[in-house]
């Protein structure tokens, strides 16, 4: 299975994502933001970090990179595109997924483990996963998901919510919401479910010595679904 990770100036989880994808069997290539063409891929990943320093708005400048036109075309033709953290912010800025990511409610960067509840398994990312609640890691300053009422209705009608912040039992309540996201949204799909944006970092949870291993479950399952 072939994957591509895009490196923007200021990306800093690109290597971590590369390590994770390779660990679970992907043949991964790193792609520079200034390239025009995507290598042949089954999965394209926009990694976390601070592309362009998070200046202006997170993800805004990266969304204008040369490579992004190819990524958009790839997504529109049904290709799998996953944006994690800053990658999610870039996806939002390109309009591939709806909504925006505002500053965290208390204006503080948050780095910690959280639980997320999967809402929709009818897609390549989560199909066959035998758990509904995953423990993942977040590390962000702008993960406060927001969209308009109309958008929210549309998102809900189309089953586009991918993951919610919750507790270890899967209860979705305001007190388990780390950053103020509406409806505790931690990640969403596009309408067709081939594009996924989410704040938590599965690539930081891929062995028992790190913060946990639920990221391993995610990647193992993902490569099986793509095969």
């Amino acid at each position: 299975m072939k994957s591509s990770v895009i490196t923007f100036p200021g990306s800093n989880c690109d290597r971590d994502m590369d390590v994770a994808l390779k660990k679970f069997g992907f043949n991964n290539k790193m792609v520079w933001h200034n390239d025009h063409e995507l290598p042949n891929s089954d999965l394209v990943v926009l990694p976390g970090g601070f592309s362009y320093g998070d200046y202006l708005r997170c993800g805004s400048m990266a969304s204008k990179s040369k490579i992004m036109q190819s990524v958009i075309n790839f997504a529109k033709s049904g290709g799998l595109v996953m944006g994690i953290c800053n990658g999610f912010q870039i996806l939002v800025e390109t309009g591939l997924v709806p909504g925006v990511l505002l500053r965290n409610k208390y204006l503080e960067f948050i780095c910690k483990n959280v639980f997320v509840k999967l809402d929709n398994k009818n897609n390549k990312y989560f199909k066959n996963l035998n758990k509904d609640v995953l423990e993942l890691h977040i590390a962000h300053n702008e993960g406060n998901y927001f969209c308009t009422k109309d958008q929210l209705k549309e998102i809900e009608d189309n089953n586009q919510i991918a993951v919610y912040y919750c507790n270890n039992l899967g209860q979705i309540e305001e007190k388990f919401n780390p950053n103020g996201s509406i409806k505790n949204i931690a990640g969403i799909f596009n309408k067709e479910k081939n594009v996924l944006g989410m704040m938590p970092h599965p690539e930081r949870m891929i062995d028992q010595n790190l913060s946990g291993e639920d990221g391993s479950l995610f990647f193992k399952n993902l490569i099986n679904n793509i095969k």
Binding site: P9, K112, N209, L210
Partner: protein, 730 residues
């Protein structure tokens, strides 16, 4: 501008120093030259008050690849890998503008590390604030934490440990010390020593602006009412550009174009160019018209003294300019050939086709002033008599609650949760343990790092305090199963021109030296920050020690959380009941006098090495050193982290229970072992003559001190975690 004595004094030079400059040059310097002298000869760059004493520190060892004198120290961690590390202060800028001051401090120390070819793999910080009641404290704390996180997080380097303290002596002068560790291949280390004639000198990174002119002189002056005027010298950090600079430099370093490289830190282009030339025993010629400037009409004086951040100076091999330029273009950074190395042994500056400065480099470096300042020796204070009747009235549970929730012991999670501590995917011990630990990517090895200081002990008796900090650093590394290798130090003191402060400095350094010599824990890098005072009030002497150790097999790493019911808990090291200068004495008894606990280096070494031996034999389930707050505080923290309880035994000691639980005798650890290993553990400890005693057995969710005194783990947690969060949200 005409140069005379008055102008020289305004530049922070002393009359004698100005005369010396005129004599050395045999003429009056022009204003640019005076600026250069003042930058090179101030305390921050010349170490004129500290040099004599720093020389006495042990800096060599089997594992030391590079000791003090370079941008950072380098140690061997086997298999061709080396760790580059250093700590640096950014105290004054952080007091004036906490966010930018702290941010640029973190940026600066990372540049010191990647200048040597190492990719940063971990950051640490030691931050000290005034009393929580002081009106400035909260905003300073918030700004500093946001600044440290803002820069480190953006760079994508995990912040894995730190230290935070509050003490009213920092009311008018906070401390912000930042430390970075980087990883490099032993045969790919870069140094600042220039070599070869007519080699191109290139400038890369950000443009030069008017920011931070005289930053280094500011770091060498005390605060006074005029500090407002000095405000515009604060720089703004640009972590994004630094991230690009890091990647671009490492890309260029992968080839063979670089002869030497030096970051532009304090005193910017001045100190970087002079240092490179001086180390290579060469001259250097710089054409200032070629320096990329942000503002128009910058003068030679401004260009040479600017402290704009995110810049580097490189001496290249001839003919490699194009290769280098291509890389810096790719990363969208400024690149300019601004000069060359010469055999004149002078620094020569050209501007508008005129020579605007010409100074023999040895006048700036070797001939810089050195002072043997007067200093006052401290006496060991007399021991206090503990007021038995006061102590008797105290309830252990109340004391424990007060201690756990006191600002200097409480959990600092509010701080470190704002630092990305897991990026790079190799953090195997997060903040909150005794040391932070990161794996050496792709190997079975891991490095542990800790940063510590004990200003209270140093203030009470500098010699003992100096020893104690090194010992504490050593213990923090051992507690996670790391073999201590070397230290870096950041010496934060008041004015060297005052005998008391100078005495504190001299004796702390002596203590650090003795301990590091005995423990074979050499000093490989460091930094001195004097003049930490407002008006006449100096801070408590605060030497900060950053220790680094190696864990050869990270599967053997130890954490401090209690693991399993029925496991036995032991104390290594003898408890004598030293209460003076303890947190207990200060917060409960309100007693500020008396000597700090004695440091017995033989016991330190013996206890520590024996514990490492037990760890190596897989006999230890958890471990934690006993520091601030004594035995009961340490045990409570292990309970909290493990969500486990413990049933304590009545101690066989003759001393009073409170003294037993809260005294701060040195060289002690708490360990958890499996009961089946008790025999073997005891055998090893007895063989090595390590004092040890069984103190309890692990149970569920309750700390049982005696029949009458029980505390649930949830209670302990709330004591420990609430203070800081509540304080910051009010």
């Amino acid at each position: 501008m005409l140069v005379n004595e008055k102008v020289a004094i305004e530049h922070g030079l002393k009359v004698d120093e100005y005369k010396k400059i005129c004599n050395l040059l045999n003429r009056t310097p022009n204003i640019t030259e005076l600026g250069i002298f003042s930058a090179m000869w101030n305390e921050h760059c010349s170490y004129k008050s500290s040099k004599l004493h720093l020389k006495k520190l042990p800096t060599k060892g089997k594992k030391v690849i590079q000791g003090p004198g370079e941008n950072a120290g380098v140690i061997d961690v086997e298999d061709g890998d080396a760790i580059v590390f250093k700590v640096e202060s950014h105290n004054h800028p952080s007091f004036i503008e906490p966010y930018q001051g702290a941010a640029t401090g973190v940026g600066g120390i990372m540049r010191d590390v990647f200048t040597m070819g190492a990719r940063p793999i971990a950051n640490l910080n030691s931050i000290h604030f005034g009393s929580p009641q002081h009106k400035k404290t909260k905003n300073l704390l918030r700004g500093v934490v946001h600044g440290i996180g803002g820069y480190g997080n953006c760079m994508g380097i995990p912040t894995i440990a730190g230290q935070t303290s509050f003490d009213s002596s920092y009311n008018g002068n906070i401390l912000v010390n930042a430390m970075t560790l980087g990883l490099v291949k032993k045969n790919k280390i870069f140094y600042s020593k220039a070599a070869g004639l007519n080699k191109p000198v290139i400038y890369v990174g950000s443009k030069t602006g008017r920011d931070g002119i005289h930053g280094a002189s500011m770091a060498s002056a005390s605060f006074d009412e005029k500090i407002e005027d000095k405000k515009p010298t604060v720089q703004v950090g640009d972590p994004f550009t630094e991230k690009l600079l890091l990647e671009a430099c490492l890309e260029l370093m992968a080839g063979d174009s670089i002869i030497s490289i030096q970051d532009m830190g304090a005193a910017g282009l001045t100190s970087s160019s002079i240092e490179m030339a001086s180390k290579g025993n060469l001259g250097i010629e710089i054409n200032l018209d070629k320096v990329p400037c942000r503002e128009s009409k910058m003068t030679p004086y401004e260009i040479m003294l600017s402290e704009s951040q995110e810049r580097m100076l490189i001496v290249l091999e001839n003919g490699k300019e194009d290769i280098a330029k291509k890389i810096f273009d790719k990363w969208n950074l400024d690149f300019a050939v601004i000069g060359k190395t010469t055999n004149s042994k002078n620094i020569e500056l050209i501007f508008n086709n005129e020579k605007v400065a010409n100074i023999p480099i040895n006048n700036l470096v070797e001939n810089s002033p050195t002072y043997d300042r007067k200093w006052k020796k401290s006496k060991l204070p007399k021991k206090n008599k503990i007021k038995k009747e006061v102590v008797k009235k105290l309830k252990i549970k109340d004391v424990l609650k007060k201690v756990l929730s006191s600002p200097n012991v409480c959990s600092k999670e509010w701080i470190w949760q704002q630092y990305d501590h897991t990026v790079m995917g190799d953090t195997i011990q997060k903040p909150g343990g005794d040391s932070g630990v990161v794996r050496i990517h792709g190997t079975n090895k891991a490095v542990a790092a800790s940063i510590d200081s004990s200003a209270v002990y140093c203030w009470a008796h500098p010699l003992t305090g100096g020893k104690q900090v090194v010992a504490e650093s050593w213990r923090n590394l051992i507690s996670v199963g790391a073999t201590p290798i070397a230290i870096t130090n950041c010496l934060n003191f008041g004015s060297p021109e005052k005998e008391e402060n100078m005495g504190e400095f001299v004796e702390c350094v002596q203590g650090i030296g003795e301990a590091s010599e005995y423990l074979k824990f050499p000093v490989v890098s460091g930094n001195v920050s004097f003049y930490n005072q407002t008006k006449d009030v100096g801070i408590k002497p605060t030497p900060t020690i950053g220790g680094v150790g190696l864990i050869k097999d990270y599967n053997k790493m130890i954490t401090m959380n209690f693991k399993e019911n029925d496991n036995l808990v032991l104390i290594l090291g003898k408890t004598e009941g030293h209460i003076d200068q303890s947190l207990f004495a200060r917060t409960i008894l309100d007693e500020k006098n008396g000597p700090p606990p004695e440091v017995n280096l033989f016991n330190e070494k013996n206890n520590g090495e024996s514990l490492l031996n037990l760890i190596d034999k897989n006999l230890i389930k958890s471990a934690h050193d006993i520091s601030l707050g004594g035995i009961l505080t340490a045990i409570a923290k292990m309970c909290i982290k493990g969500d486990k309880g413990i049933k304590l035994k009545r101690s066989k000691n003759l001393i009073n229970e409170i003294e037993y639980f809260f005294s701060e005798d040195q060289g002690r650890y708490i360990i958890e072992i499996n009961p089946k290993d008790l025999k073997e553990v005891t055998k090893i400890l007895n063989k090595n003559s390590v004092h040890h005693e069984e103190i309890g057995v692990i149970i569920d969710k309750e700390l049982i001190i005696n029949e009458k005194t029980k505390v649930t783990i949830d209670e302990l947690k709330s004591y420990n975690t609430n203070w800081l969060t509540n304080y910051m949200s009010k």
